[in-house]
């Protein structure tokens, strides 16, 4: 579905990640974990070209992404959920979800409204349609953001630390929605620290540290029997903070 070959990103002289070879197959759920500063988020943002890599290649459905690629078309097919939600504050929950289909897909407004209501109900927000983002809790905002991405009917969903900005009691409601999306067969790449989610949902865990992929494997194997010293060190520090 999407594949990177020797992908490298630098900001000036600062190397963010280097020679990352990564692939996600259709229907696969991949969780990326690793210490902060490992380049996970920047890597994720390269996948839908919000960041452009310094070198290396990205193939989406077998086609090389180049400067000539219609990036808007690409992003239309790749949904993204951000750490800080990035809802449009001047629009209601319903309008937030409708905007993409109406503006980008030129969908009929009534149809887009029906679809948006449908997705908002799916994320448990059928009673919040006409609320503005500032009237919603953090968990509700993130669920609106997920509905907004889903309404574009993407083929791939990227989640960039979707629960990191949430109060602890709101994390589960967002993870539950993500689990449901996973069960419905969506291809997903998730950057997160939620180990229980990774264990339950992921087909594969990718451990990034110091700007490269250090280790990857099946979640149970990775969390219970990490092969590298770097991963063991990381898991030890994470497990002391999060109870699993």
């Amino acid at each position: 579905m999407i594949k990177t070959v020797n992908l490298t990103k630098r900001f000036g002289n600062v190397k963010v990640f280097e020679n990352v070879n990564f692939e996600v197959r259709k229907g696969e759920k991949v969780v990326i974990v690793g210490p902060s500063g490992a380049g996970k988020s920047t890597f994720l943002r390269c996948l839908n070209a919000l960041e452009l890599p310094s070198s290396g290649e990205i193939y989406y459905e077998g086609t090389l992404i180049t400067q000539k690629t219609n990036l808007n078309k690409l992003r239309e097919e790749i949904g993204m959920v951000f750490q800080h939600f990035n809802l449009f504050p001047h629009l209601t929950a319903l309008q937030n979800v409708m905007l993409g289909p109406v503006v980008v897909k030129k969908m009929d407004k009534n149809l887009a409204r029906d679809i948006a209501i449908d997705y908002l109900k799916k994320v448990g927000l059928g009673h919040r349609l006409n609320h503005y983002p500032k009237e919603l809790s953090g968990g509700e905002k993130q669920r609106v953001a997920i509905a907004r991405a889903l309404a574009m009917q993407p083929k791939l969903m990227l989640f960039d630390e979707p629960t990191s900005a949430l109060d602890i009691e709101m994390i589960q409601e967002v993870l539950d929605v993500m689990k449901e999306i996973a069960e419905n067969g969506m291809t997903m790449v998730v950057v997160t620290h939620e180990i229980s989610f990774a264990k339950e949902v992921a087909d594969r865990v990718v451990f990034m540290a110091d700007g490269r992929i250090v280790e990857e494997g099946h979640p149970i194997e990775f969390f219970e029997n990490p092969q590298t010293e770097r991963a063991r060190r990381f898991l030890k520090s994470v497990l002391s903070v999060y109870s699993v």
Binding site: R75, M80, H84, N86, L87, H90, L99, V103, V104, R148
Partner: protein
């Protein structure tokens, strides 16, 4: 020198005639100023170095020279380059571009105050530049720029008095005419001042109220 109420009443229609011209100048320059101001601001933040450079020079020149000089240049110098405009039109041109320079800076600051995440969220849905601006960025910007732009309109309304230098019979020009004709300086100038205040004070209050409301609402 004393205030003569009878003279005030007698010359009021004459002043109101001038007020009409003042309001016409203000409204036209306001509309053009906002439209051009937005365009200059979009150039200023564009990716093209050429557009950025041109708009930046434009803003520097218009903000760095006196408006009175700009009015004189448009009226007396432009005809030398084949652009002959009547006094009213050249007044509108000078005022429009001058206020556009100030308004563009307001728009630029407004757009830059929108968090980068908003651009990213719009991009991640597949929106192009135009769609992002129209549906996501500008609606949020407009709420933030209405108070400072209202202040700019107050400044513009007062600055229209400068075009009397090219003989446009606006409010200040009329008051000067009355004082010359009646040998009474206090009455017409005081009257003109009161008329300006009746317009500017409500506008300033409006701007302050809007500002308070938007600060709370955000």
């Amino acid at each position: 020198m004393q205030f003569r109420f009878d003279l005030f009443i007698q010359t009021l229609p004459f002043l109101l005639e001038g007020l009409k011209t003042t309001l016409g100048l203000t409204l036209l320059a306001m509309v053009f100023g906002i439209v051009f101001g937005l365009i200059i601001a979009l150039f200023r933040i564009s990716k093209s170095p050429l557009l950025r450079g041109l708009s930046s020079i434009n803003v520097d020149v218009l903000r760095g020279t006196p408006l009175l000089l700009q009015i004189l240049v448009v009226y007396y110098v432009f005809p030398g380059f084949g652009l002959k405009l009547d006094a009213f039109t050249s007044g509108v041109v000078a005022l429009s571009f001058n206020s556009a320079a100030y308004i563009s800076e307001i728009f630029r600051a407004g757009i830059e105050s929108i968090s980068f995440g908003q651009f990213e969220a719009a991009n991640s849905l597949g929106m192009n530049y135009y769609q992002t601006m129209k549906h996501v960025i500008l609606p949020q910007t407009i709420r933030r720029v209405i108070p400072p732009i209202t202040n700019e309109i107050v400044a513009l309304l007062k600055d229209t008095s400068l075009v009397m230098i090219t003989g446009i019979a606006e409010l200040t020009y009329k008051s000067k005419q009355i004082s010359a004709a009646t040998a009474n300086v206090l009455t017409p100038y005081l009257a003109a001042g009161i008329i300006y205040l009746l317009l500017t004070i409500p506008l300033t209050r409006l701007s302050q109220n809007l500002e308070r409301r938007f600060v709370k609402g955000d």
